[in-house]
Amino acid sequence: MKLITAVVKPHRLDEIKEALQAFGVHGLTVTEASGYGRQRGHTEVYRGAEYTVDLVPKIRIEVLAEDDDAEQLIDVIVKAARTGKIGDGKVWSLPVETAVRVRTGERGPDAL
């Protein structure tokens, strides 16, 4: 199994959810995050002083996937998240040793 993590622009969340659903994935976990990279932040002004806020809001999505689906899923997410502008984010995948569904205790692919 793989854990696919995507750090993307917040307003792409809906598209990604829909794309995943269309693909047949019905679960995911979302965390609020912020990040920077090529995309630098913006300037804010407080009481006559200007500052660069360099962390930009992002959404961090985690999806557990079976090994065979992982590559395709990454593509699905990348496609749905893309706006073509800097700051579109990263997607990465990690190997999972075991996964459990808490309610039933099922393990492995059955846990998804």
């Binding site: 200007e50 500052y51 360099d54």
Partner: protein, 429 residues
């Protein structure tokens, strides 16, 4: 000069003042957290711009003399000729039927704050998507070509006040609420829908803020409504109790409709219902009895609760329901008092006058506001860029973000360039 009446009007003015920030918070809580500051500022700036324009020429255009029933004259620009000893007539009379006199400065301040909030009311309809600089220009022009004339029609001795059966508009149903409501519609039609309208619910980001705003509005509205008697007598008290009763009834009216139609008593519904009641009782509260107030309230609550869903059906993005609440509520109150007015006033003639009042303001204001907004859109641009709208108008227009609850708050930022405040950088506004 009557001290009691002058004092009452001054305190009422303070109460009306607090309505504008109250409105800012009411609206601000309803938008998403990325555009709350812009929403606050659209109301708040009216306290700056309109206050200044009012003393420069607004008071004069609305209340000095009369030019063909349409507008006043310029004799009182800069409040020329007014000093601490100047007075105007209150609606309160002594035993001989003579009007009490109140300080002109008190009257002018009170009226100024009506202009301030009327302009601010419009902003809710175009939340999240207009350039702040364009908005500033808009309200400056709008009060000049729309509000000052219309206030003159209704209260300044203009044509609506001079009908055979004069329009009843105790505290501003036509001049304030219908006026702002229809102007809101016109501006919405010019600036268009938010990105994601109908698809994305854009739910309120801070409901306690909405309730707080409602509370300040309700509180201030006692000054707005009762203060419109320009002094203290039994009618003032009647207006005050009717204000409370209609507002309570409207809250219930809205909630009951909502519970039946959508299955829940929502907090937003309670707040919206209260505002709808306040709007509807504004023109009528000095001229109806308790049952009239109850009826106007409950009807306004239920009807406005229905009216706010019209925007989905008709497809105009009146973001925070200025049309659904202020226009619809204002028209309801204005028309209903035509029949419900006590002291033998209610009836067909009165209803006709009320309708004339309501529809003439709707017609005039819609056309002039549309032209004005259109002109701004075609010249300097009214609508913000889509990028700014999506990433949040607060950052784009004000170079600020509303909240920072993070524990690493400070670390997210580092001074620009070498020293703070080094170079002026243009931020689009």
């Amino acid at each position: 000069m009557n001290g009691t009446d002058t004092g009452f009007v001054l305190i009422s003015a303070a109460l009306v003042m607090v309505m504008t920030p109250g409105l800012a918070l009411f609206y601000g809580g309803m938008v998403r957290s990325k555009s709350v500051l812009n929403m606050l500022m659209m109301s708040f700036i009216s306290l700056g711009i309109v206050s200044v324009l009012w003393v420069l020429y607004g008071h004069s255009l609305a209340f000095s003399g009369d030019s063909g029933g349409f507008i006043g004259n310029l004799d009182m620009i800069g409040l020329k000729g007014v000093d601490a000893a100047s007075t105007v007539a209150s609606f309160v009379t002594d035993e001989n039927g003579e009007a009490h006199q109140i300080a002109t400065f008190a009257f002018s301040l009170f009226q100024m704050l009506f202009a301030v909030i009327t302009a601010a009311l419009i902003s809710g309809a175009i939340a999240d998507r207009v350039k702040f600089g364009a908005w500033m220009i808009f309200i400056g022009l709008w009060v000049t070509v729309v509000y000052f004339p219309v206030a003159h029609w209704v209260w300044g001795g203009g044509w609506l006040a001079s009908l055979d059966t004069p329009v009843i508009d105790f505290a501003g149903g036509t001049a304030v609420h219908i006026n702002a409501g229809i102007a809101a519609l016109a501006v919405v039609l010019v600036v268009g829908k938010r990105v994601g309208f109908k698809k994305d619910p854009m739910r309120p980001h801070n409901m306690p803020l909405v309730l707080l705003g409602t509370a300040l509005l309700w509180f201030g509205w006692f000054g707005f409504n009762a203060g419109s008697e320009l002094g203290v007598d039994g009618v003032t008290a009647q207006m005050a109790i009717n204000t409370q009763v209609a507002t309570g009834a409207a809250m219930l009216g809205w909630l009951i409709y909502e519970r039946i139609r959508h299955g829940a008593f929502t907090t937003l519904g309670a707040c919206s219902g209260a505002v709808a009641g306040l709007v509807a009782i504004t023109p009528s509260g000095g001229n109806v009895n308790i049952f009239g107030a109850l009826l106007i309230g409950v009807v306004a609550g239920a009807v406005c609760s229905w009216a706010v869903s019209l925007k989905y059906k008709l497809g105009y993005d009146d973001s925070l329901d200025v049309v659904g609440v202020h226009l619809v509520g204002g028209v309801l109150g204005t028309l209903m008092v035509g029949f419900l007015a006590i002291d033998g006033k209610g009836g067909g003639d009165q209803f006709l006058s009320q309708a004339i009042g309501a529809f003439s303001v709707m017609g005039y204001t819609f056309v002039v506001t549309y032209i004005l907004a259109f002109a701004i859109q075609k010249t300097i641009g009214f609508r913000a860029s889509e990028d700014d709208e999506i990433s949040g108008i607060d950052q784009a227009a004000h170079a600020e973000t509303a909240y920072d609850f993070s524990s690493a708050a400070s670390s997210h930022i580092s001074p620009a360039q070498s020293s703070p405040a080094a170079d002026a950088k243009k931020v689009e506004a």
